[in-house]
C-alpha cells in the first residue's frame, strides 16, 4: 500500500510525513509513505493526503500550478474512489469556494464555502489557536475507532481563522465550539478532512491517521 502526500509547495510537509510514517510503521501492512509532486504517483497511490497551510487562494494556486495534479486528484479520488484525507487548508480546498481575501473556486467535492470565523463572543481571539475538544456525529465514522471524543474526550490542535461552512449537515462529521459551532471535520464517501492538524494532535491525531490507513470506504 502506498500513501501519497501531495507536495505543492504549501508549508510544513515534514510533520505530516513523519506522522504518517509513524502510523505506517505500526500498521500491519507497513504502507509506504511518499511525498510527491508527480501526478502519476498520485494516480498510482492507494491513499491520498492533501495537506495545506496559509491562505485558501494561495494553496489553490499552488495546487493548480503543479501540472496535471488537479486532474490526477479528480481521477484518483472522485473517479477511482481512493481514500482521501485533507488536512487544514487541504480540507478546506474540498469546498466549492474559498472567501479568504478573494473568492476562489475550490475542488467542489463537498458543498459549502470557506468563510471567516465569527465567534459570538467578540473577545475571543482569532486565529482559533490551540487545543479544543470535538463533537462527532452520533453515527460516527471508522476513523474514530477506539477514540474518545466529546467534551471529556481527547483534544485536537487547531490553528486557523477561516472555517468550512458546509451546506449539507450530513457532510459535517465533527464540530468544535468557540462561541458558536464550527466544522472540525468533514466526511463524504471515500473522503475525510480535518480542520485541525492530526500531525500535531499527539494521540488523537496519530490514532486518527492509523484508523485512516485501515479504513475501507
Amino acid at each position: 500500500m502506498t500513501v501519497a502526500i501531495i507536495d505543492y509547495g504549501s508549508g510544513n510537509l515534514r510533520s505530516a510525513e513523519k506522522a504518517f510514517e509513524r502510523a505506517a510503521r505500526a500498521h500491519a501492512r507497513m504502507p509506504d509513505v511518499i511525498v510527491t509532486a508527480d501526478p502519476d504517483r498520485v494516480r498510482k497511490a492507494d491513499r491520498i493526503v492533501l495537506p495545506g497551510v496559509g491562505a485558501f487562494a494561495d494553496c489553490k494556486r499552488g495546487l493548480w500550478s503543479v501540472e496535471g495534479m488537479p486532474e490526477a486528484l479528480q481521477e484518483a479520488v472522485r473517479d477511482a474512489g481512493k481514500p482521501f484525507f485533507g488536512i487544514c487548508v487541504g480540507m478546506q480546498l474540498m469546498a466549492e469556494r474559498g472567501l479568504e481575501f478573494e473568492t476562489v473556486d475550490g475542488l467542489g467535492w463537498i458543498k459549502g464555502d470557506v468563510s471567516e470565523m465569527k465567534p459570538a463572543d467578540a473577545s475571543l481571539k482569532i486565529p482559533h489557536m490551540g487545543w479544543n475538544t470535538i463533537d462527532v456525529r452520533p453515527e460516527s465514522h471508522p476513523v474514530f475507532k477506539g477514540l474518545s471524543t466529546g467534551s471529556d474526550g481527547l483534544h485536537a490542535y487547531f490553528v486557523h481563522s477561516f472555517h468550512f461552512a458546509c451546506s449539507e449537515e450530513t457532510d459535517r462529521l465533527a464540530t468544535f465550539d468557540y462561541a458558536g459551532t464550527f466544522t472540525a471535520m468533514v466526511a463524504k464517501d471515500n473522503m475525510i478532512g480535518t480542520q485541525f492538524h492530526p500531525e500535531k494532535s499527539q494521540r488523537l491525531g496519530l490514532e486518527l491517521i492509523a484508523n485512516f490507513l485501515d479504513w475501507t470506504p
Binding site: N12, K18, K125, I126, Y157, F158, H197
Partner: protein, 259 residues
C-alpha cells in the same frame, strides 16, 4: 467544550545544545534539545518553544537539525525563535518542521518584515516576540517600552502601539516577555500582558518571570493571555507540566489534561 489555555515550555538552545541542561530523571542526554522535547511531549506540553541563542554565524545551522529531529519524534506544535532575520530563515525553519516562527529584533528594526513573512507563509505561523519593560515612575500612567538585546537596549518604541502595529501587519500571535521580570521568579508583569492582550485580536503568550504555579494562573486569568511560557521551573523539575496544568484547571482555567 472550549479552547484550552496552553502551557509552553521554552528551551534555550545554543550551538544545538540546551543551555544549562535540563534536569529530568531519565534523560539519556540532558543537553540534547530533542531528548528534552520528547520528555515534554510525553508529559503533555501543549506546545514547545526553542529559543536559539547561538551567537556565531557558523553555529546557526545547528537549529535546523534540532528542529528536524524534533519533528520526527514529537507530534505537537513547535515554535522556533532567535536570530530570525530573513524570509529564507523562516522558510528553512518551516521546512525543517517548525510550525511557527518567532520574530524579535528583525520586527523592531523593520516592521515591514512581519508583513512580508505573513504574506509569504500565512499569519498562522508568524509570532512576533515583544520584549518590554515598564518604564513609568510609580504613580504615573502605565508605560511600556520595547527593549532589544536581552533587555539592554531601549528603543523608545511604545510596546502597546508596536503590538497593534505588528498585528495589523500580519502577526498571528504575540509572545510578550516582561524583561523587567525575566529570571526574577517574581511573576509575569500582568499590567503589560493585559494591556497588550486587550489591545489586539490575536492570541498572546505571557512570558518572563514565572516562579510559582500561581504566576501561570495570573497570566491567563489577570493578564488575559491564552498561553503561558516558562523555562526554568520545568527544566529543573520544580513542577511537572501535568501538575501545572492540573493546578491551573483547579483554579478555574480550562486546560487540556489528556495524557
Amino acid at each position: 467544550m472550549t479552547l484550552k489555555a496552553r502551557v509552553i515550555p521554552c528551551l534555550d538552545v545554543k550551538d544545538g545544545r540546551v543551555v544549562k541542561g535540563v534536569n529530568f530523571v531519565d534523560l539519556v542526554d540532558a543537553g540534547d534539545p530533542v531528548e528534552a522535547a520528547k520528555a515534554y511531549d510525553a508529559a503533555g506540553a501543549d506546545e514547545l518553544c526553542f529559543l536559539d541563542i547561538t551567537a556565531s554565524h557558523e553555529g546557526r545551522d545547528t537549529i535546523y537539525d534540532v528542529v528536524r529531529r524534533t519533528a520526527e519524534a514529537c507530534f505537537m506544535p513547535v515554535t522556533v525563535g532567535g536570530g530570525v532575520r530573513t524570509v529564507e530563515d523562516i522558510r528553512k525553519l518551516l521546512i525543517a518542521g517548525a510550525d511557527k516562527v518567532s520574530i524579535n529584533t528583525a520586527a523592531v528594526r523593520n516592521p515591514d518584515f512581519v508583513r512580508e513573512a505573513a504574506e509569504k507563509f500565512g499569519a498562522q505561523c508568524i509570532v512576533v516576540s515583544i520584549d518590554a519593560k515598564q518604564v513609568n515612575q510609580p504613580g504615573e500612567p502605565e508605560k511600556f517600552e520595547i527593549f532589544t538585546h536581552g533587555g539592554r537596549n531601549p528603543t523608545g518604541i511604545d510596546a502597546i502601539e508596536f503590538a497593534k502595529k505588528v498585528v495589523a501587519l500580519g502577526a498571528g500571535e504575540l509572545l510578550v516577555t516582561s524583561m523587567d521580570r525575566d529570571g526574577t521568579k517574581a511573576g509575569y508583569n500582568i499590567a503589560l500582558t493585559r494591556a497588550i492582550a486587550d489591545a489586539v485580536p490575536v492570541p498572546v503568550i505571557a512570558s518572563g518571570g514565572v516562579g510559582t504555579l500561581d504566576h501561570m494562573v495570573e497570566g491567563v486569568r489577570d493578564g488575559h493571555a491564552t498561553a503561558v511560557l516558562a523555562a526554568s521551573i520545568f527544566h529543573f523539575g520544580e513542577y511537572t507540566i501535568h501538575e501545572t496544568k492540573k493546578y491551573m484547571n483547579d483554579a478555574g482555567i480550562p486546560m487540556r489534561l489528556d495524557l
